[in-house]
């Protein structure tokens, strides 16, 4: 085969491959690719996304080829990884961290026939980019309730990763619900500026414990804060984040937020297979099963547990919204009037603390 026929064959092959996708026809076989910000073994965020990827494989068997890459830094490297994936024949690529926002949209522009799904994002610059997120703040409300009831020092802590709306939302929800059951509660926020750095996460937890904090919620990806809390021999409790983190039951881990991505991943890959995939912006919560509340252990008194479960059920039934007015902003200005619930737009762009939280959000 000389070079010209080789090129012609390649061009024909490309034409066939892309032609099928353009017409959004059903496919016999699809390739689904996943990009993780941390290692799968973090037992937290990336681990849960990988469980979703495995569920896709399980659901479709031979019809879907699943590949993934771990530890992909947010930034220029991500763009290279995504380009490589798109070139290697991925039909749908899930980018599972907020920081991939620009890389996802940039690569999506170059590969209009590849579907991109960006987790926790908001930018959909091209028709082949969808975003999806989970209403973690619903779970934070339940954690806040437990924290407010359980704290003895009236100091509760929150390890923030980056000051982005998703995290700020969680902090506000956590604080509001702790304050509701315990007006004396004070919240300490420490920003780690990383998603995954076990040593630093442990140091952050340690710094808070040394200053009297006895309930720690974390928004980073590893189990290190729980490991640090465990050193206090029951004096400090915390929550599983992203994954159940059941190894730390019954204490310090007294409950958890579990991200269950599997239903969404199975659905979206299915839509690629039958050619019905379309751009969407999904934000599912407890009601849809995307956010699950892990078992509340016996360390929590029965009445507190019952209240927390009642709140979970009310949120699932749609009768309670964690951000229900009256709520004021940190500077004292009004945000939500009596009885009003927060519009999604306000939450997704949240850049302020609610009244009562001290400290500033880093820029």
């Amino acid at each position: 085969m000389n070079r010209r026929t080789l090129l012609a064959t390649a061009a024909l092959g490309l034409g066939l491959a892309f032609g099928g996708a353009v017409n959004a026809q059903a496919m016999d076989k699809a390739k689904a690719c996943f990009v993780y910000v941390g290692p799968i073994g973090d037992l937290g965020w990336s681990y849960q996304h990988h469980q979703g990827a495995l569920a896709v494989q399980e659901a479709y068997g031979d019809k879907v080829e699943v590949t993934w890459q771990e530890n992909v830094p947010e930034g220029a490297d991500a763009e290279r990884v995504l380009t490589q994936m798109a070139l290697s024949g991925c039909n749908i690529i899930f980018t599972t961290s907020f920081g991939y926002v620009d890389a996802t949209n940039a690569v999506a522009a170059k590969f209009p026939n590849v579907k991109f799904e960006h987790a926790t994002g908001y930018k959909r610059e091209h028709p082949n980019v969808s975003t999806y997120n989970a209403r973690f703040y619903e779970g934070r409300a339940i954690q806040g309730h437990i924290a407010g009831k359980m704290t003895k020092s009236n100091k509760i802590g929150y390890i923030g990763s980056f000051p982005i709306p998703e995290v700020i939302m969680g902090i506000n929800s956590y604080y509001l619900h702790a304050k509701k059951v315990n007006p004396a509660v004070e919240l300490t926020v420490v920003w780690a500026f990383t998603w995954f750095d076990p040593a630093k996460e442990a140091d952050a937890a340690k710094a808070m414990i040394e200053q009297g904090v006895d309930v720690i919620a974390s928004h980073t990806d590893s189990t290190a804060p729980l490991a640090e809390a465990a050193k206090a021999n029951g004096a400090v409790i915390g929550f599983g984040q992203a994954s159940d983190m059941a190894d730390y039951k019954p204490s310090p881990r007294v409950s958890s937020i579990i991200d269950n991505w599997a239903p969404y991943y199975v659905k979206r890959v299915g839509e690629v297979l039958d050619g019905t995939w379309a751009q969407t912006d999904t934000w599912a919560g407890i009601a849809d099963g995307e956010v699950e509340i892990g078992e509340i252990t016996e360390v929590v008194p029965a009445d507190v547990k019952a209240e927390a479960e009642a709140m979970r059920d009310a949120i699932a039934a749609g009768t309670y919204h964690p951000f229900t007015g009256p709520i004021k902003k940190q500077d004292g200005s009004d945000w939500l009037a009596e009885g009003a619930v927060a519009p999604d737009g306000d939450l997704l762009g949240m850049g302020f603390y609610v009244e009562g939280i001290t400290g500033d959000i880093p820029k």
Binding site: P39, N71, V190, A202, D203, A204, E228, A230
Partner: protein
């Protein structure tokens, strides 16, 4: 004082936070003094973290865990020694490859050990000494590895400065041809130095997985090896300065978290970048004035040695 920060507790926790980088940096310092640039510190650390963890869990002894960590790090560095000293491969490329290999291999080895808690490493019992208000906390409230890390700095300083062994090691690092001509076994000395560096980095890694974050997770060292490499340059290849550098880096990261927890209104960004600013400053000061000699870099650093004459 800012809010509720207790200076004693702060110093105590910065000493603990700096142990992994001190151990790794001292090991790398010796390696570089022998004229070898091993960029695989991160890989050796994480191998030490996983091997130490496995050893501690299997035997139930944290002390044996540290031995396992040292062996794991040294075993990985042996690959580097083989590549660079016998096959004369490029040191920079081999070192980087070592890091990538170590990260992957540790993840594989650690598969069955996720979510297990290792045996605890308790603080040494100093009895009444630990009750002294400020000093007790700072000086007598630690586990044995903290003291070992400081002792290793002192020992390295003494060996490099005052012993024949140190003189030979430095001779090899400054001018390997001359050392060879004098009859010293350049290759053997370098291999031993590399093994020492691997063992120290491995112990540093084991400290992360056994004490600082008592658990195994993929990628647990999260870049500590690179900081150790930077500290060696920061320290101008001198042991005590490496200790200061490690406390500076470890201290600032602990301090900024404590300041946040105490609610101090200092922008986090300034504190996070301050160690790097100081590094740049130190490098500028050292490289100006008396000239490059003040930088003190071993003259044969990174050069391949082949006994052709």
């Amino acid at each position: 004082m800012f809010g509720g920060i207790d200076p004693g507790l702060l110093i105590a926790s910065l000493m603990v936070a700096s142990v992994p980088i001190i151990l790794a940096a001292i090991g790398e310092l010796v390696v570089e003094r022998a004229g070898v640039l091993n960029l695989g510190v991160e890989g050796m650390m994480i191998m030490g973290a996983v091997c130490g963890f496995i050893m501690a869990v299997q035997t139930g002894s944290a002390v044996l865990g540290f031995v396992g960590g040292a062996l794991g790090g040294a075993a990985l560095s042996l690959i580097f020694a083989l590549l660079t000293q016998f096959l004369l491969a490029n040191q920079v490329a081999s070192g980087l490859a070592l890091t990538l290999f170590g990260l992957g291999l540790s993840s594989l080895l650690g598969q069955g050990f996720v979510g297990i808690r290792p045996p605890a490493t308790a603080a040494l019992p100093f009895g009444a000494l630990a009750e002294i208000p400020f000093l007790g906390r700072v000086l007598f409230g630690h586990d044995w590895v903290v003291y070992l890390s400081i002792a290793s700095v002192a020992a390295t300083w003494w060996v490099l400065r005052s012993t024949r062994l140190g003189l030979i090691l430095r001779a090899v690092g400054e001018n390997h041809d001359a050392a060879h001509a004098l009859g010293y076994k350049v290759r053997r000395i370098r291999v031993l130095a590399i093994l020492f560096g691997g063992a120290m980095a491995g112990m540093g890694g084991a400290y992360v997985s056994l004490v600082r974050v008592p658990q195994w997770t993929d990628g647990i060292t999260a870049g500590a090896g690179w900081i150790a490499l930077a500290i060696v340059v920061f320290a101008a290849w001198r042991p005590w300065r490496a200790l200061i550098g490690a406390y500076l880096f470890g201290g600032i990261s602990v301090l900024q978290l404590n300041l946040q927890a105490a609610g101090a209104r200092i922008p986090v960004e300034y504190l996070s970048m301050s160690p790097y600013l100081i590094t740049i400053l130190v490098l500028v000061i050292m490289s100006s004035g008396k000239g490059k000699a003040a930088l003190n870099a071993p003259a044969s650093l990174g050069q391949t040695f082949h006994a052709s004459r």
